[in-house]
Symmetry: C2
Subunit: 170 residues, 2 copies
Amino acid sequence: MEDNDQLSASLEDYLETIYLIVRKKHAARAKDIADQLQVKASSVTAALRLLSEKSLVHYAPYDIITLTAEGERLARDVLKRHQALYHFLLDVLGVGEEEAETGACKLEHSISPLVLKRLISFVDFVQQCPRVGTQWVKEFNSFCQRGAMGENCIDCINDCLKKVTRKTGS
Amino acid sequence: MEDNDQLSASLEDYLETIYLIVRKKHAARAKDIADQLQVKASSVTAALRLLSEKSLVHYAPYDIITLTAEGERLARDVLKRHQALYHFLLDVLGVGEEEAETGACKLEHSISPLVLKRLISFVDFVQQCPRVGTQWVKEFNSFCQRGAMGENCIDCINDCLKKVTRKTGS
DNA sequence: GGCTTTTTTTAGGTGATACTAACTTTATAT
DNA sequence: ATATAAAGTTAGTATCACCTAAAAAAAGCC
């Protein structure tokens, strides 16, 4: 009765898509899923039967589609991976929004729990750490464009120090 | 005659494995590949026929296996992705060696050229930038263990500033 | 209600990838 | 050198994930 095995990348995509549609429209139709994933309706039917066998979706022929509790849990997990990668790609690596989105879509299926956890912490750390922060990320972008370190490292660090001193007042 | 299409993750793995075996032992046998990739010998034969059709390996039944120039080029490319990810996971995110290795193996097939380029630059930048560097990476590790920012941010930045001032002598 | 359109399912096919089992070829060891 | 072991191939099967084409069900409209 239970699903021991991991989901395939494909089924994870179906789950994620259903979750997003349900969140927006209360329930999903096969057509919505097909349009979203750019597959034919018959492929959706096949996927729904597999997900139904694994008790991840409530599905009966011609009926409306929703996620089971377990299905929703897994969908949230996929989405969490997606968003962590998206933010890393966009806010740290500084690739564009579109590239961050497609990149997250592809990578989300092969990132392990530990790497995910670390990645989330890292984006958090980069944004929180006064030694780094947003300005430093911009510095990285200049580095990428120039292909070399900037000249004004000491000024950069000094600016950073001033900012922290001012903020904490010590 | 030419291969327009992208390689599958599976064939990339075969190519990468063959490259590594050839580099170590001059030529590869099907058995080596099967052992390395944890598949049965018959699966290797099938893969070799596909790679041979794409002119990526020199292959004849019962004969020894080597890569063509194009095969080697592609194998190096996979390996480059693998190593970039490995270093990011190990040296920046600070997951262990084993996790970095398995993580790189899984992610290497779904990373785009742009993200790859950025990731390589990023690891480089983190290691070169005086504002960041090795010490900061350690700081990130503490952050991960504690789950919160450290208390001594100003000292941390001051240390960093001193180090840079000393080094450049200005 | 009945007709048309849309949606969904079914049936059947393709290609990729791996498997098992049986067979062939090559290597080894006495 | 020849029997046995190891390595490699072939043939047939299974799964996954997509497709097309055609049938069935549901929804929308007069």
